[in-house]
């Protein structure tokens, strides 16, 4: 029987590439700061026609360094420019505000917008609500204005600041590639199962089964990183999300595959029957993960009512790390498969010599 190690397993360059890419992602992903954003505004609610002092808390902002910081409040498609800004430090500023709305304007919320030449334009939607009262003409309130702002763009290299996500956006480089790797390794396993059934070469069976073990590792890692992430962002570790459930079903199927392999003593028979189960399971599984997210809503980007992945969640700075991360992780898991395959081939040869 031909038990040579497949050629691609022995080449070194792609293993070094994986290490290099992951090192770059690990380092760069942690060093690059988060972009500026408005973390909170207090008070979150005030009464109309009263003097309110509003404090804006920024995150990674440059209120005092920038010099030309201006604050604009937006309500019912009208802008209100704020005078008498008191910049306390880089991340905190306050201003007095008095509001006398037209009763015809709908809604009772303000978007808070801050602009300066370093941070660009940052905003917090529906940051303040006000309690409506009667309109009093005698009171001099802040008037609507036509704002003129400089550059909208933040200068400097940073990851985008997103509400809910905040610093945890860096998990994109670790959580998302697990899913990519799992799919790729499962496809490798499918291909080698088919190859085994066509040729009967047991090396192909070894590649298929070891790929499944590594895919399970990816699945478990993806679920764990996802659960920790979801707990801090969506508020629950298991938010009934179809993607999450897809991964969970995959883990169930492949644990069953390993149990099946354990149940058969004879090597050749084990290889053949588990290849059949693998092919049967993976086809149904792929249908499952492609159909289910499209018929139900998902919290994940790109499904249901959520904006698409590339449009909104991945800006150009994130991509500089995200794509290398995907390639790096995929190669690393392939390396794992190759190590396990080489070990099993040695065991097989030993078994045949005895």
């Amino acid at each position: 029987m031909k038990t040579e190690i497949p050629n691609w397993l022995q080449q070194k360059w792609w293993k070094y590439t994986a290490l290099l890419l992951l090192f770059y992602v690990l380092l760069g992903g942690l060093i690059v700061p988060l972009g500026p954003g408005i973390e909170a505004v207090s008070p979150i609610s005030f009464k109309q026609n009263t003097d309110a002092t509003i404090i804006v808390h920024g995150y990674n902002t440059h209120f005092s360094t920038a010099g030309n910081t201006q604050v604009i409040l937006k309500h019912a498609k009208k802008y209100f420019c704020v005078n008498d800004l008191m910049v306390k430090d880089e991340n905190n500023l306050s201003f007095p505000f008095k509001f006398n709305p037209d009763s015809s304007d709908a809604g009772n919320t303000f978007d808070v917008i801050v602009n300066n030449n370093i941070d660009g334009t940052i905003a917090l939607r529906e940051a303040i609500t006000f309690v409506r009262g009667e309109k009093e003409d005698s009171i001099t309130a802040t008037q609507a204005c036509e704002p003129s702002v400089g550059s909208n763009l933040h200068t400097g290299f940073s990851f985008p600041y997103r509400e809910i996500l905040y610093e945890s956006i860096r998990n994109t480089f670790y959580h998302v590639p697990m899913w990519f790797s799992m799919m790729l390794v499962l496809i490798i396993s499918l291909v080698y199962s088919i190859k085994f059934l066509r040729t009967g070469n047991r090396v192909f069976d070894i590649v298929a089964s070891e790929s499944v073990i590594v895919a399970l590792l990816c699945g478990v890692l993806g679920l764990t990183t996802g659960m920790i992430w979801a707990n801090y962002t969506w508020g629950s570790p298991w938010p009934n999300d179809p993607k999450l459930n897809g991964a969970a079903v995959g883990v169930l199927i492949y644990v069953a595959y390993l149990i099946l392999r354990g149940a058969i003593a004879d090597g050749v028979k084990r290889a053949r029957i588990s290849a059949v189960y693998n092919i049967f399971a993976i086809v149904i599984y792929i249908m499952f993960i492609f159909i289910i997210p499209r018929i139900t809503d998902s919290l994940h980007p790109g499904n249901g009512g959520n904006p698409a992945f590339s449009k909104y969640d991945l800006d150009s700075h994130l991509r500089l790390f995200f794509y290398p991360a995907v390639i790096g992780w995929v190669l690393l898991f392939c390396w794992m498969v190759s190590l396990r395959v080489r070990l099993k081939i040695i065991e097989l040869k030993k078994e045949e010599n005895e």
Binding site: L197, V249, L252, I253, A256, I259, L260, A263, I264, K269, R272, I273, A275, V276, Y277, I279, F280, A281, V283, I284, Y285, M287, F288, I291, I292
Partner: protein
């Protein structure tokens, strides 16, 4: 012996299965009793928790298909596990794998359908009969039984060759069943609802049909590899 046609061979095998089933009536009886007592467990649990009348359409359909699921696993795996190794060896030499697979699938589909009909009957009598669209309910019974039967036929064949027991059939089959179960219970609860759900029900019925077709294709391609000694 003159070579018989494909269909004649398939029917000979089905006839044999039916005869064996009728000869061991206690097996048939035990499978029926199995689903009857599962329904009674559900009934009493609901009754003494005062929720017999508040049970919603999705819960009704999930409970119903769970009952069918467990009786189907038992019935289908029985049809494989009762055959001795010598018998299997005989069939291996006498019939092509496709003949054997077709006979098992047809037999098991009819068996599972009968089980689900009996299950539905007991459900109607004991728990409630909320079916508003009988046509859709009947279609989902047929397509759903088809899914169950094909899947568990393949899984039983795998488990028999692994010289294991019917726990393995459940372990192998249940995770793969999840997508089908979702669509089946969706259509069933639509059949318990009103006419507005008609469109949704048809869409999901098509999906179940597509999954069934996929399963049959896979079974036909892959069964010879399981069958080979």
């Amino acid at each position: 012996m003159p070579a018989k046609s494909f269909l004649a061979q398939v029917f000979a095998l089905i006839r044999k299965d039916v005869l064996v089933e009728l000869r061991n009536k206690y097996v048939l009886g035990s499978v029926m009793l199995f689903s009857a007592s599962t329904v009674m467990i559900i009934y009493f649990s609901l009754l003494y928790n005062n929720s017999l009348n508040v049970i919603s359409a999705p819960i009704w359909s999930i409970l119903f298909w769970m009952v069918v699921l467990f009786s189907a696993v038992n019935a289908v795996s029985n049809s494989f596990f009762r055959e001795s190794e010598t018998q299997l060896m005989n069939y291996y030499f006498l019939f092509s794998p496709l003949v054997y697979l077709s006979s098992k699938i047809i037999y098991n589909v009819v068996y599972t359908l009968a089980l689900s009909l009996v299950g539905a009957l007991i459900f109607f009598i004991v728990i409630s009969n909320p079916v508003k669209l009988p046509f859709i309910f009947l279609s989902v019974m047929i397509l759903g039984s088809l899914s169950y039967a094909i899947l568990f036929t393949i899984m039983s064949a795998i488990a028999v060759k692994a010289k294991s027991n019917n726990t393995l059939v459940a372990v192998l089959g249940f995770p793969i069943l999840i997508p089908m179960m979702i669509f089946i219970t969706k259509v069933t609860s639509a059949a318990l609802g009103s006419v507005e759900h008609m469109e949704l029900a048809f869409k999901n019925l098509m999906l179940i049909g597509a999954l069934d077709l996929m399963q049959i294709t896979l079974a036909v391609i892959l069964f010879p590899y399981i069958w080979r000694e």
